[in-house]
């Protein structure tokens, strides 16, 4: 469809132009313009400067310095900044009966945008569009695997028994690739009303997403075994078709709408090198195809008693898919090296998990109903009653697996063969691992969990306009949630109250103060099944018994927000916004205990935008999350701390600061200048506290080290001048500069100590690609455009 779109758009233009010629009135293209220009950029990406290591500690083996490729992805994250000729077309046509609008920009670039709209003023209208967008994630990644972006990424040298384990220790020999996606939406719609209250609308669009994204898999049986990161293929297509039929007049409206949306992924599974697996290949399951059908009904009745309006909406949707359930789960070893000290991990067999169904029929049915009744009672009084119902029922196939669970030292299922038995299923060459831990994959039957839920949200809001300059508002509401398939909190009730006061007594000052309070309570089941065995309930001797998931835990949340708008003198405008919201989690020992969010925004503006105006803006935001954990088992909330069993906690802080200056200046009638500069920085990280006061304060002698996360600083300068030579020609000259610096201790695993290839000792080696490791960049852009207006 992509290739056909441009000819279609051009053809449509001719047809529409012909139609407009038939218009009795002269069809005018007044206001249309065509622009052509050039752009030149200088881009510099951050490098993952680091070193590869062959030892678990930097002190026992020297680091081999290694400079990775530049990563320019963040510069081009959502934009195509390629050097070259740029163009913009803006055709505005209108006549007595018809109108036509075509807009196109970034022609030939990855962020091209085309939009054609037209129609007859009183009968119909149409639109055809195409919007492309790059999403560049991380460039200059490295991998020892070949086949990046395909359904199999592997290395031929990784066959079982490879004596040189761990292989591929030198990232200088690896292959370079980019993590990037390209999205394209192409579609159109047609509206017909025939100058009547009836209306009909049909729409269709296709969205494609293609490229390579990061994926990774752990190696071996435990998360301490290291991992491998690689490029996974993305080849998605979504086709959406909509129909809408309705009737609308001043007194009310009613409409029925239908949606059919089909998602397809051309690659359902992919294989990647896992040294612990049979043939060194492991399998990962990519997003499955699906189809969504939805029917909705909207209706509104206005001009009811007390100037009331009744609005209702009901929807029904069904999300379905169907695919075969793979029976063979690849079975890793217990990290046994072969030979014992230098060889690769022993590849083992395929475990037939014996699923109860060979196919999976995905089926999620969603029903919603909403009602709103708003009234104006006179005397400045207004009210609103509302109710929202949402029910999502997962009716997909319940699949029970006989094997393939995960339980350390757990009891075997009677149906589960012993380690050392002959090969099972279709795996011909390998038997069960001889490891004593192999039976951790061989537990009793375990089914998938089909999560369903429903929500009832109802409330009342009221407002009283005391006079033209004062208004009081408030509201109460309740949200009840019931869940199936989530054992920790099957029911949650949330009650909300808010009040607001608006004042604009003074001509040059208006103020708004809002306070809100939310109370959430859940029926919490502390003995929910937790951990690695789906059948083992938590006991008071386990940490999870005292833990609460933050999205359902009991909490009280007060919030306050103040907005001031003040014009202290002619040409001065000032606005201040301040908001504070705290959440106090309660009835728990471990988990998130508190969070606090504060945000302040200030804008000061002086001048007349038609002559000279300068605007200063500032923002400060700080968010703090407090969490408490328990190290060791057994544990209880009241247990004292000792060297092995102790509480520890984190304070996770995130800050955001922004300052900017924007100036608009019209020094001459034909000259317009604009300059903007802004600076944004994000900060924060994790601060640790430990209840273990022995030794260095950490468990087993390990240090507690605070670290920073996603600390960034960005400066942007934009300068632009437009000079109007005459009524037709305008020239634009611009310059932009951007500087972005990134610092994150979590990413120093890539760039500081163990870049790309990481050796943690024993059989725990990891192979990283460097995704997102250092998105720092520098950018300079110079551009010129000449625009002809006709």
């Amino acid at each position: 469809m992509n290739r056909k779109l441009i000819p279609f758009l051009v053809g449509s233009l001719f047809v529409a132009t012909a139609a407009s010629a038939a218009d009795e009135d002269e069809f005018s293209w007044s206001g249309s313009s065509v622009g052509i220009g050039v752009r030149s950029t200088k881009q510099e990406g951050g490098t993952r400067n680091g070193a590869s290591a062959t030892s678990s500690t930097v002190t026992t083996a020297p680091l081999a310095p290694f400079t990775g490729p530049q990563d320019k992805a963040k510069i081009n994250e959502y934009r195509d900044l390629s050097d070259g000729v740029t163009g913009t077309i803006d055709l505005i046509g209108s006549g007595k009966q018809n109108y036509l609008r075509f807009f196109g920009e970034n022609l030939g670039y990855d962020d091209q945008f085309l939009n054609l709209r037209g129609g007859d003023y009183s009968n119909y209208k149409y639109q055809v569009f195409q919007d492309k967008m790059p999403h560049n994630l991380s460039w200059g990644a490295l991998t020892p695997l070949s086949g990046t972006g395909t359904a199999q990424v592997s290395v031929p040298g990784a066959a079982p028994g490879n004596p040189a384990y761990p292989p591929f220790q030198n990232p200088a020999t690896w292959q370079q690739f980019d993590y990037k996606l390209q999205r394209q939406v192409t579609g159109g719609n047609f509206d017909f009303s025939g100058n009547s209250p009836w209306n009909f609308r049909a729409g269709y669009n296709e969205t494609t997403m293609q490229g390579t994204r990061p994926l990774s898999g752990r190696l071996g049986t435990g998360s301490g075994n290291g991992m491998i990161e690689f490029g996974a293929p993305v080849d998605y297509m979504t086709k959406d078709a909509t129909l809408d039929f309705g009737y609308s007049v001043k007194k009310g409206s009613i409409s029925v709408n239908v949606l059919n949306s089909r998602f397809s992924n051309s690659i359902d599974t992919m294989q990647f090198t896992n040294f612990y697996m049979q043939n060194n290949l492991d399998t990962v399951y990519l997003p499955p195809d699906n189809m969504l059908n939805r029917v909705g009904l909207n209706a509104t009745l206005r001009e009811l008693p007390a100037s009331s309006t009744l609005a209702v909406r009901g929807t029904w949707s069904k999300l379905t898919n169907n695919f075969g359930v793979t029976a063979g789960a690849l079975l890793p070893t217990n990290n046994v090296l072969n030979p014992a000290t230098t060889g690769s991990p022993a590849g083992v067999g395929i475990l037939n998990t014996n699923p109860s169904s060979s196919t999976f029929d995905g089926d999620i049915e969603t029903k919603t109903a909403s009602l709103s009744y708003t009234s104006n009672w006179g005397g400045g009084l207004d009210s609103k009653l509302f109710y929202n119902y949402y029910d999502a029922k997962n009716q997909s196939t319940l699949v029970t697996f006989d094997k393939g669970g995960l339980l350390t030292g757990g009891a075997q299922s009677p149906n589960c063969p012993n380690p050392g038995d002959a090969a099972i299923g279709t795996a011909p060459a390998f038997g069960w691992p001889t490891s004593s831990n192999a039976n951790m994959f061989c537990i009793a039957q375990h089914p998938n969990s089909l999560f369903s839920y429903n929500k009832h949200d109802f409330g009342v809001e009221g407002g009283w306009r005391v006079n033209r300059a004062n208004k009081l508002s408030g509201g109460l509401s309740s949200l009840a949630t019931e869940r199936e398939g989530r054992e920790d909190a099957e029911k949650t009730d949330e009650r909300r109250a808010w009040a607001e006061y608006k004042n604009s007594v003074l001509d040059d000052l208006s103020a708004r103060l809002k306070v809100a309070y939310v109370q959430r309570r859940s029926d919490f089941n502390p003995a929910r099944p937790v951990g690695q065995n789906p059948f083992a309930d938590a006991t008071p001797a386990q940490v999870p018994y005292y833990y609460r998931a933050y999205d359902v835990s009991n909490a009280n949340q007060p919030a306050v927000k103040l907005v001031l708008d003040w014009a202290p003198a002619p040409m001065w405008d000032t606005s201040l916004e301040a908001g504070i919201r705290q959440t106090n989690y309660r009835d728990m020992s471990y988990g998130r205990t508190h969070d606090d969010r504060r945000e302040y925004n200030l804008t000061v503006s002086y001048g007349d935008p038609k002559a000279f105006r300068i605007t200063a803006l500032a923002n400060y935001e700080i968010v703090q999350f407090d969490q408490v954990y328990r190290n060791g088992n057994p544990a209880s909330g009241a247990s004292p701390n000792d060297a092995s069993n102790f509480d520890w906690s984190t304070t996770n802080t995130q800050t955001n600061r922004m300052m900017g200056l924007i100036a608009d200046w019209l020094p001459r009638e034909r000259l317009a200048l604009k300059a903007s500069w802004f600076w944004v920085t994000t900060g924060g990280g994790v601060h640790f506290n430990s209840g273990n006061t022995s030794g260095t304060g950490g468990y087993a002698g390990g240090p507690l080290v605070d670290y920073v996360t996603d600390n960034t600083q960005k400066q942007v300068l934009n300068l632009k001048g437009d000079y109007q030579f005459d009524k037709q020609w305008t020239g634009t000259l611009g310059y932009a500069q951007e500087k972005y610096d990134y610092n994150d201790d979590q990413m120093k695993g890539y760039q500081g100590f163990y870049p790309y290839y990481q050796y943690l000792g024993g059989n725990n080696s990891s192979w990283f690609s460097g995704a997102y490791a250092n998105p720092s960049y520098r950018l300079q852009v110079v551009y010129m455009t000449a625009t002809y207006k006709f």
Partner: protein, 337 residues
């Protein structure tokens, strides 16, 4: 099965009956409505242009100035359709508010938001996209049509909706010359100006996602005027690969995407509300024996590093966090394949 078909057929019949009945009732009501009064003697655009040339010019080239549209102001006297009879205004020699002239601009405190919106609603109340205007937050919060739209604005640069952009926006160099929807919204939603400039953001400042792609500013039944029945339904409109259905579900991902993501902007990749592993630890304390901190140091590179903190944290291994179809609980239930 048969019962379900019968039920569906019955429901369809009821729906059609309700639709036809309601439509017929409304048609009857419409027939009883008085027709628009013919334009009288009030001054028309040619008179107003003497003082308000730019406004009249923008009116003439906009849809409001086209007589081909039966409902356009051009067929109802021109300027008078929105601004009222200007006879006294002209007699008095003009002036702001003089002669009872009606000016629904945002800066006019003499009119309430409802009164300003009513100027537009006289013609637009039956527009389909305004069906839920009364139920929405904007009307309740005294936002009038003219707070966002200016029918006299420059329509070039794809600004067909005649949106205002009165408050300057800060953004990096962008490749689009279009006026973008967020430039209108930040006039009131000032906190978003900082949010959408955070390192991880939807491509709003780049013009590839517009506020109205997710929110319906003209009113909606859903809280925060989302364009779908729930936040998750909205997200899955674009992120169709996350729909599933999966054999193994991650319950919070099925109930509310905002449990983990913050849609307007974040310091962390993928619009995460916190950086893993801290984010995951808000719900999962002891999946691993000693929790996150197992005594091997906290950050990478420290003697030796803890891989659970490194890079993407938990997501390094639990990549299929939205759901998995792997055929075992060892990999599928824990979203590792």
């Amino acid at each position: 099965m048969r019962n379900r078909k019968q039920l569906s057929a019955a429901a369809a019949k009821v729906l059609v009956a309700v639709f036809v009945f309601t439509g017929a009732a409304m048609q009857a009501a419409l027939a009883q409505q008085p027709t628009a009064q013919a334009a009288g003697a009030p001054p028309g655009p040619e008179v107003c242009a003497a003082c308000h040339e730019a406004q009249v010019q923008s009116y003439a080239t906009s849809i409001h100035g086209q007589k081909g549209h039966p409902r356009s102001p051009a067929n109802a006297g021109g300027c008078v359709a929105c601004h009222g009879d200007g006879t006294e205004h002209v007699k008095a020699g003009g002036g702001r508010g003089v002669g009872g002239i009606r000016n629904p601009s945002p800066s006019n405190k003499a009119m309430t938001a409802d009164e300003k919106s009513q100027v537009c609603m006289n013609c637009h109340s039956s527009d389909r996209h305004l069906a839920f205007w009364d139920a929405g937050q904007h009307k309740k919060n005294d936002v009038s049509c003219s707070n966002c739209h200016n029918p006299h604005t420059d329509r070039s640069l794809n600004n067909d909706k005649m949106l205002r952009a009165d408050v300057p926006a800060a953004s990096p160099y962008r490749t689009t010359v279009r006026q973008l929807g967020y430039e209108t919204c930040i006039a009131c939603h000032r906190d978003l100006r900082a949010q959408i400039n955070k390192p991880s953001h939807h491509p709003i400042i780049e013009g590839k996602v517009q506020c109205h792609n997710c929110h319906e500013p003209h009113g909606a039944m859903t809280p925060v005027m989302l364009k779908a029945e729930s936040q998750r339904d909205l997200c899955l409109t674009c992120h169709t690969d996350k729909r599933g259905p999966f054999i193994w579900n991650h319950a919070p991902a099925m109930e509310n995407c905002a449990t983990c993501h913050t849609p307007h902007g974040s310091s962390h990749n993928r619009l995460l509300a916190q950086k893993p592993p801290a984010l995951c630890a808000d719900c999962h304390p002891g999946g691993h024996t000693h929790g996150l901190y197992d005594g091997r140091g906290t950050i990478p590179g420290v003697n030796p590093s803890n891989i659970r903190f490194e890079g993407s944290g938990c997501i390094n291994c639990h990549r299929q966090i939205h759901g998995s179809n792997a055929p075992s609980s060892a990999f599928g239930r824990f979203f590792m394949r």
